[in-house]
Every structure is written in C-alpha cells, then in structure tokens.
Symmetry: C2
Subunit: 142 residues, 2 copies
Amino acid sequence: MSDKSSEIEEGTAFQPKFDANGLITTVVTDAASGELLMVAHMNAEALRRTIETGDAWYFSRSRQQLWRKGETSGHGQRVVELRVDCDQDSVWLKVEQQGAGACHTGRRSCFYRAVPLGKNGVALQFREEGKAFDPEAVYRKK
Amino acid sequence: MSDKSSEIEEGTAFQPKFDANGLITTVVTDAASGELLMVAHMNAEALRRTIETGDAWYFSRSRQQLWRKGETSGHGQRVVELRVDCDQDSVWLKVEQQGAGACHTGRRSCFYRAVPLGKNGVALQFREEGKAFDPEAVYRKK
C-alpha cells in the first residue's frame, strides 16, 4: 500500500474524491429504521453546505443544479451522521426524513422494487404497498 | 412525466441504466443488521452473474476487472435480496456477509469514519474500534 492510499484509508484528513463530473456518490439511510432511502450525488458545494448546515444538499445530474432536499416537496432531511468510506469516494448520510417519504414517486424509499434472483429477465416485484404521499400534489409548482 | 419515465419508475421491467463507463452503483447492506457495508459498481456481466448465482459479483474500476466478492479474501456475500431504485440507475444488495468483514482495510464496513458536522475541515472520527481481521493475512497472495 502506498503512503498516499494509507493516508486516505487510515488518516483523519477528509479528502473527498470527486469523480470526473465533480460528484461524489451519496447513500442516504433513515437514522431510526436503518432503511435505505435513496442514492444521490453531491458536488463540493453541496457537501460543504451539508456539513455546515446539517441539512442534506445534493447536486441534480438531470437538472445540473444544486438543491436542498425538501425545497420543493417540504420533505427535507436533517443529517444525524455523515460518514466517508475507505477510499473516500462515497459518503453516507444517516438522516431524519421529514414528511412522508424521500422518493419523488411518492414512496418512502426509492428502492421499492425487488429483482427476483435465480434467473434473469423476471418481472420486478413491488415491495412498498401503494404510495406514502401524492407526488402530483407535493411537487406541483406553487 | 413521459411514458418512458413512467414505465421505468412504475413498471415491472428491469431496465438497469448503466453509466458512461457501463457501470451501475451498488449499495451493499448487511441483511441482518441493516448496516451499510460498502458501495461498489457492477457492469452488466456482474449484475447477470449476481442474479443467476446469488453470489455478489462486482466490477473493479481500479483493476478494470470482474470479481466475485470473497474470491481472494474468502469473505463472500450471499445475496438475500436485490432491489432497484426509481430511475433504475442504482441497485441495493442485502447480503449475508461471510467472514469477519467486507472492507479490504480489515473492517466490517467501509464506512468506519465520521465527518463531524457544523464546520468544514475538522478531523475525521473513527467509528469502528480496531480491525475485524488482519488484511495483510487475508489478502496476501497465496
């Protein structure tokens, strides 16, 4: 192991490694239940704001825009703990999810469908019954 | 919402969306404890093998190589459930982690350090005491 990777893996300096697009993968779980809510991305500014404010900020790849979770939906996320992985190219937010859910489709979690194992090409199975909120009402432009 | 995004989000067809490098982000949690173990990547072949065998296969970006988790360390992962997110660009594996840990540094989880909130530039705090196994012994070339 090189001195550099040793420092990244075993040191106490936070050196987030952003990808070619300037983003870092962000895993978001519910601090109380442990449930995986969503996977998102942060740029350096979103990460800086998240650390300083304790509110979850992300960078939208589709809109190419910084956003605070909940700014449209009201379903914000308060960060309870922020962690970084061994090679510092992913971060993990444990959050208190405000409102009924994290997913823009109206579910609590974005991961509401299972892929059956054993054979490829089998239909997905829904794991969340119905929706936690009405996305049309929540995301309607005011 | 277009018909296409509606089908991707609300349908039962598995249409994994690989990125420009042919990879999909994979979040791996411990099926029993719910703990986040690691974030990895799969290419189409790793995903196909994982679904068919129930063993976790990944694609190493640093080595540009397909690998079965545990093939060197013996610390394999049996997949209990595989899920996909709303826009089908991330998957979630709930696994039974074999051996002492998932991280190549010798820890159970790759996310063993916390980033303090409130101010940028503060030293990382270790959250796993010591190591779960000796990486030198486990990864030594046989």
